[in-house]
């Protein structure tokens, strides 16, 4: 088999057009990696600058009432993951700016996609796009051309007469071109690591390696399917047409169809319906018959009992702060319920698209690539969740200062000093650890693995037909 692989490479090396193509492709891969990383670095710098500015505004605010500060709020900027330069995932469409304030949870805003005319339908020319669509296309052409030439020139007969095994010949050719595609992969991923060496962590290196394994598996699938069809179909043109059809259906057709179908099967509420639902739940919690109202009354009673006074005005603390926090907690319960429901629908949609990618390994690869790059929906949802946890802590600190800082009930003029505001911790985000990412992506891994095995079996079942 080694001889076959070596022979393929010698043949390729002798073809100046091919060498030219490889050089051009390596250059493109290099440039896309460079530009992808450059944009990510620019974004990371902008995010850091914006965060610092917002934090300095917070730190330098004048002494004021903590509840006013809760309304003033703060902004978070969703950090770009180190591998955004490789696969942008959903980052281009979800926005980066999130306003945190008291009483309500806001949506992340100002996506890049909403700031310009539509520029492309397949995303930016990032390494992921090249490696998912362009390299496989090249692989289809190369594997097809190699096996077809072998068949048309009848050289395969000579090899068989000399004692060669047809399956071994196929495996040899597949491995030769698979290794070539892995070369592109290695160049791209190495560049990703080299270009952002200052941000490298074990987690990033591990994620990059796993991305490499996923793509390598997909290239194996593409190579073996093309080899199988070219070797087994009488008409060479039909084999190529079929593989090109697969490429189009896998890369262009099915992802869009399954995504849209998933959204139609598991429908998300409209923003208005969602807001109405939240509003209704919050309104019902203020109803006299509602336990939430009782909860507030119970809170008042318990506080009065604790401090052994008759009215809130007699309290040594500010009851308004406690009320604000109680109201906040009611709001949090409502949010948890509604966003929980929303997340369930989105998870169902994701599961649907994952399962619907059984006939489409490229879709599994895309999901895996986004997931490992930290740019899929789950990473986005994780950021939103952690931002909300921070918001709750942040507002709670302000409400507690309002309650226990030294003011009395009804005193809205009381001001907490600048030191207090400065003492509130800033938000810092760490993405989902890799082991948890696999809980989400195991379906994609299994589908790719199944296809790799399928590829082996296909080639193993190939027989030379005259």
């Amino acid at each position: 088999m080694k001889a076959i692989i070596w022979n393929e490479w010698i043949l390729l090396r002798r073809n100046p057009w091919f060498i030219g193509l490889i050089i051009v492709l390596i250059l493109i891969v290099g440039l896309t990696s460079y530009f992808g990383v450059a944009e990510t670095k620019k974004l990371i710098a902008m995010e850091a600058e914006a965060s610092a500015e917002i934090r300095s505004q917070w730190d330098n605010q004048e002494a004021g009432n903590p509840h006013n500060a809760a309304h003033y709020g703060t902004y978070l900027f969703k950090p770009s993951s180190a591998l955004t330069g490789f696969d942008e995932g959903v980052n281009g469409v979800v926005g980066k700016t999130l306003y945190l304030e008291g009483h309500r949870q806001n949506e992340i805003q100002y996506s890049e996609a909403s700031q310009s005319l539509q520029i492309s339908r397949f995303g930016k020319l990032r390494p992921a796009l090249l490696l998912q669509l362009i390299i496989p296309l090249l692989l289809i052409f190369l594997v097809f051309a190699s096996i077809r030439t072998e068949r048309e020139s009848d050289r395969v007969r000579i090899l068989l007469v000399q004692g060669g095994d047809f399956r071994q010949i196929l495996f040899g050719k597949i491995i030769a071109y698979w290794l070539l595609s892995v070369l592109f992969l290695l160049v791209t991923l190495s560049l990703q690591l080299i270009l952002q060496s200052e941000k490298l962590t074990t987690e990033v290196i591990l994620r990059t390696c796993l991305i490499g394994v996923g793509y390598a598996a997909f290239y194996w699938i593409i190579s073996s399917c093309t080899a199988y069809l070219t070797a087994n179909l009488r008409q060479a043109g039909t084999a190529l047409s079929l593989m090109l059809a697969c490429w189009i259906v896998w890369g262009v057709f099915l992802p869009k169809i399954s995504g849209t179908l998933g959204e139609q099967l598991y429908q998300l509420p409209t923003r208005q319906a969602f807001a109405d639902g939240m509003r209704a739940d919050r309104a019902s919690s203020l109803d006299g018959h509602n336990p939430e109202e009782e909860k507030l009354a119970a809170l008042k009673d318990s506080v009065l009992r604790k401090y052994q006074v008759e009215t809130v005005e007699e309290l040594p603390i500010n009851f308004d702060g406690l009320l604000m926090q109680a109201d906040e907690e009611v709001g949090n319960v409502v949010w948890d319920k509604h966003f929980g429901d929303l997340n369930k629908v989105l998870r169902k949609q994701k599961t649907f698209t994952q399962v619907s990618s059984i006939p489409n390994p490229l879709q599994s690869l895309q999901s895996l690539s986004m997931g490992l790059s930290g740019t899929d929906y789950f990473h986005h949802a994780d950021f939103m969740l952690k931002a909300e946890q921070y918001r709750r802590q942040f507002i709670k600190s302000l409400n507690e200062k309002h309650a226990y800082g030294g003011s009395k009930t009804g005193d809205w003029e009381w001001a907490a000093d600048q030191e207090f505001y400065r003492s509130l911790e800033d938000f810092s985000y760490s993405a989902i650890p890799l082991n948890q990412v696999f809980n989400i992506l195991w379906t994609d891994v299994m589908i790719l693995f199944g296809w790799v095995i399928g590829g082996f079996l296909l080639i193993n079942s190939s027989k030379f037909r005259i």
Binding site: E47, V90, E107, S111, S120, R126, L268, Y377
Partner: protein, 440 residues
């Protein structure tokens, strides 16, 4: 051979080629599904707008009821007084919607990335959280909408490649080119004849598809002119691809090489060039985090509030000279009531927000100029955005909507301040004027 014979030959060729039939069926499924998507999205948006308007109407009726009963507002909110211009305007549920155009059926475009209804008050801006896009699956949005424009601009060329797969290359591979040359003198008329026949079939198929969908969705009646332009551009686009294919066939490469080359051309124009332009645009004009807007909303607003009243008052009078004609125009600053002072500050803030918004929109404009300047080598995206423009589902349509919101906010502030300075007490008649303020 006459055209009829070519048409007959291609038809026979088509029905005997299972892979061509499969390609057409797949294209038909994609087209049907995409049109259904557009139709469903439009109906969903229309439905949402009508629900939102019903809510606004309810709020409006409540305010009218207070005015009829000569009440100031709800008893548990004593600060509300619907007889004052500010609260009357607030209670008149001013809003602006961007109704989806009938052409959305064929071009969803960027519609899913923007909000399309907004209640407007004296504090509204075009970048408020309530103008966010509808809730959707970001992974699906990142993949892009499967609309008819995508099907035609990106999938149709592939269908043409499949349908023209055997033209020229087949003759080359089977070495019947010479026979054709003997019969026709040159091979060109044969190639032209075959491609024109395919073009006629495809054009007919597209027109039928568009007409049937337009009839069922009501687009013909509602947007006949845009539909005509849309169809004409699509047909032109189809024939440009066919011309390119004819050119390539003349290179006599053989079936496989021809298909490979056409696929590569498609990859370059559909993926590589748009992707490269997208990457370059993002690198030069990265995602705006809108810090300028956030600063304007918080820091600048605070600065305005910290500015002395006479200065702000003069600035507002400069922007709205009509104020000089009001009852309070000559009243000394010290006599101004707090609510009237607030009104001055509010109007100044609204004016400042408009200026900041214009600045932000201009920075987006630079990115858009960069994108449009690439159309000469990025033609598919150029055509796509033109079609989105026809369907009013492109960035520009939503930018215009944002501009309207910003202007509406200023109009509201202006009306409030003019009425306040004229010491208007809002009654039902005046309230009706407010109600119709944004209709013009």
């Amino acid at each position: 051979m006459n055209l009829f014979n070519y048409l007959k030959w291609e038809w026979i060729n088509f029905i005997r080629s299972p892979y061509k039939i499969i390609a057409v069926v797949l294209f038909l499924i994609a087209a049907g599904f995409s049109i259904y998507n557009g139709y469903a999205l439009r109906n969903k948006q229309l439905d949402t707008i009508s629900k939102v308007k019903a809510i606004y109407k309810k709020q409006l009726d409540e305010a009218k009821a207070y005015l009829k009963a000569n009440k100031k507002g709800p008893e548990d909110s004593p600060w509300i007084d619907v007889q004052t211009p500010y609260w009357a305007m607030y209670s008149s549920a001013q809003h602006l919607t961007k109704a989806p155009s009938p052409m959305m059926v064929f071009a969803v475009g960027q519609a899913e990335q923007f909000g399309f209804y907004k209640r407007i008050n004296a504090w509204s801006t075009a970048y408020d959280g309530d103008l966010a896009a509808e809730i959707s699956n970001p992974e699906r949005i990142a993949l892009g909408a499967l609309d008819f424009t995508f099907v035609v601009l990106f999938l149709l060329p592939i269908l043409l490649i499949v349908l023209c797969f055997t033209v020229g290359g087949y003759e080359q591979d089977k070495q019947v080119s010479k026979l054709i040359k003997i019969q026709l003198g040159v091979q060109s008329p044969w190639i032209f004849g075959r491609i024109i026949s395919i073009g006629i079939y495809v054009s007919g198929f597209l027109i039928a598809l568009i007409l049937i969908s337009a009839l069922f969705s009501g687009v013909i009646a509602e947007a006949g002119n845009s539909l005509f332009q849309f169809s004409a551009i699509i047909l032109l686009y189809t024939w440009i691809w066919l011309l390119g294919i004819i050119g390539l066939i003349h290179l006599q490469m053989g079936q496989t090489a021809q298909a490979m080359t056409l696929t590569l051309i498609w990859v370059i124009f559909a993926m590589v060039i748009p992707g490269a332009v997208h990457q370059a645009a993002s690198l030069i004009y990265p995602n705006n985090l809108m810090v300028e807007f956030l600063d304007a909303k918080r820091e600048d607003t605070e600065d305005i509030y910290d500015t002395d009243f006479p200065i702000v008052r003069n600035r507002v009078i400069q922007n709205y000279p009509e104020l000089k004609e009001t009852k309070l125009a000559t009243v000394p600053d010290s006599v101004f009531a707090q609510n009237l002072k607030s009104s001055i500050y509010r109007t100044e803030i609204a004016y400042h927000m408009k200026e900041v918004s214009e600045k932000i929109e201009n920075s987006f404009g630079e990115k858009n100029s960069f994108i449009t300047s690439s159309y000469w080598f990025n033609p598919i995206i150029g055509i796509q955005n033109y079609l989105f423009g026809l369907a009013e589902t492109d960035y520009i349509a939503y930018q215009n909507y944002r501009k309207k919101i910003q202007s509406a906010n200023l109009e509201i502030c202006k009306t409030i301040i003019l009425d306040e300075w004229n010491e208007v007490k809002v009654d039902l008649e005046k309230f009706t004027v407010y109600e119709k303020l944004l209709e013009k």
